[in-house]
């Protein structure tokens, strides 16, 4: 089985692919990165928290111009995963306003970014229509 590495460290591939947030133990605020402190309550203790795999699309845009190496058009949006906002691309969907609307139900999905010189495969994530 090819070795896999996630696009970002908050995407966990051991077991069912899922997103894991850094949750402030004092106030519950969730972040998707290494922290110095909590921006909400200034606390300095965090624990990993699994984020719900399904959610509702709260907003989106269809980007037509991007940096070299990024295919356009692509759909960027924010998904409300049971109270945790997640920034992601919408994938496995026609990138047109006729196929996308705010409020639609979506779920976490993964895709391959290809293998590196050592044969390690990078795995990215997005959300696809349920």
């Amino acid at each position: 089985m090819t070795e896999q590495i996630p696009l970002v460290d908050y995407l966990r591939l051991d077991g069912e692919p899922r997103l894991v947030a850094n949750e402030c133990t004092a106030c519950g605020a969730r972040y998707f990165e290494r922290r110095n402190a909590c921006a909400s309550c200034f606390g300095t203790e965090f624990r990993p928290a699994d984020v719900a795999r399904e959610g509702e699309l709260r907003t989106f845009t269809i980007v037509a111009f991007a940096a070299p190496g990024i295919d356009v058009p692509y759909v960027a949006g924010v998904v409300d995963c049971d109270g945790t906002s997640v920034s992601a691309n919408l994938i496995n969907v026609e990138p047109s306003p006729d196929h996308i609307h705010t409020g639609m139900k979506v779920r976490l999905a993964t895709y391959s970014l290809g293998a590196d010189a050592n044969g390690v495969e990078a795995i990215g994530f997005g959300f696809e229509p349920c």
Binding site: I5, D9, R34, N36, F65, A67, V78, S87
Partner: protein
């Protein structure tokens, strides 16, 4: 004569090579150390003055790690005097009576690569290598949402539509049509052509629903202002006094923490906070405004700011636009200059340029586009990251 100012807490980090720490790590270590030394927290700060040169970072990035309380952030640069300038800025705010405690931070990484966004398969030895605070193995912009301004602000506008309804592509395009129409009367605008709705909706799509004319125009420009104290103005000529415009409110805010604010920038809360502070400072309400110049960096942004600046009821921005109010002949003229979409947006100039527009009308010198009898105006700008500046200007009493 203002009272003395004291240093309550102070810290420096070890100076040397810190390859495993980015700029914000170092700034956080110093800032959290100073707060701890002082026995206070970010909640006690009324101002943040932040200095960083080579890294091109800004104080809001530090706030997002150690405390987003919405206080004004002044990002200062003065070559090697940057740190002292940051401290001076905090001292001036306390001397001016604008707050009673402030934090000044100076940070630099000259021995490392600074803030890295993410690695690249092509960078070193062709292997996926996690880098940065998210352990990204390649650039995430475009793979995980977008960092492009048209895309970010498109989502901000669409989110308003999701929450309150009624905001579709055509509505946003009609906002743009208004501003392009207004600019036909402004000889200083970058674009002065009327544009039909069909033209705007049919033009090149940048990031749905923002087409090219719905995006602020990139152009060159500058603006400047001279400010004077009340007592000094009294010593000047009658003509100088007559044309002087009163700064009734001058407010700066940053974005306070909200649940999704580090996922999609929240341009709403800090604008609403700045507007509320400004109305209170000036002793006026939105109903007293004769004209508004707000930050329409994109047509999708203008809509949310009708609500944020309290020009309408919460959730009522679509109805407000449909009523005709923000047109130059409406009850609350918005962006009669043509706004950023048509007048243009030379970034550092805009914050003074839209105040110029307000002053032009308050002095009765706006000619063809004069809003008759204008006495009170509001100017609003917002820089992503974020900072919001709101000024309320008033015509001098006769």
């Amino acid at each position: 004569m203002s009272e003395d100012v004291w240093i309550l807490g102070i810290t420096m980090t070890k100076f040397g090579k810190h390859p495993d720490k980015d700029i914000v790590d170092l700034g956080a270590e110093a800032a959290m150390g100073a707060l701890s030394d002082a026995g206070v927290t970010m909640a006690d700060m009324g101002i943040l003055a932040y200095g960083n040169l080579v890294g091109q970072s800004f104080g809001q990035q530090l706030q997002k790690q150690i405390g987003q309380t919405g206080i004004p952030v002044y990002n200062v640069q003065n070559a090697c005097a940057t740190g002292a300038t940051a401290l001076r800025t905090a001292i001036m705010a306390i001397r001016a009576g604008e707050c009673d405690m402030g934090l000044a931070v100076g940070v630099e990484k000259l021995a490392g690569a600074g803030l890295l966004a993410g690695g690249s398969r092509d960078a070193d030895d062709g292997t996926w290598t996690p880098r940065g605070r998210q352990g990204a193995v390649t650039a995430v912009d475009g793979r995980i949402n977008t960092a492009t301004m048209p895309g970010v602000f498109a989502q901000i506008g669409m989110e308003y539509g999701h929450k309150y309804g009624g905001a579709d592509f055509e509505l946003f395009a009609r906002i743009s049509q208004k501003n392009h129409s207004h600019s036909t009367l402004n000889p200083l605008a970058a674009y002065t052509k009327e544009m039909s709705l069909e033209h705007i909706m049919g033009d090149i799509m940048i990031s749905y629903p923002n087409t090219r004319p719905m995006c602020s125009a990139n152009c060159d420009g500058a603006a400047a202002a001279v400010v004077v104290s009340d007592s000094k103005l009294e010593t000047l000529s009658k003509e100088q006094q007559r044309r002087a415009v009163k700064v009734s409110a001058s407010v700066l805010t940053s974005d306070p923490w909200q649940e999704a604010c580090q996922v999609l920038p929240d341009v709403n809360t800090l604008t609403r906070n700045a507007a509320a502070q400004a109305y209170e400072q000036a002793g006026v309400g939105p109903e007293d405004l004769d004209l508004v110049e707000l930050h329409d960096c994109f047509a999708t942004a203008e809509l949310v700011h009708y609500d944020n600046l309290m020009l309408c009821e919460p959730g009522g921005a679509v109805d407000f636009f449909e009523s005709g109010a923000p047109w130059r002949d409406g009850a609350m003229p918005v962006n009669v200059s043509g706004g950023l979409q048509s007048k243009g947006h030379p970034i550092s100039a805009t914050g003074i340029a839209n105040i110029w527009e307000i002053c032009h009308h308050l002095r009765g010198e706006a000619g063809d586009r004069q809003i008759e009898g204008a006495r009170v105006g509001l100017a609003h700008v917002i820089g992503l990251g974020s900072a919001c500046g709101v000024h309320i200007l008033e015509k001098r009493a006769a």
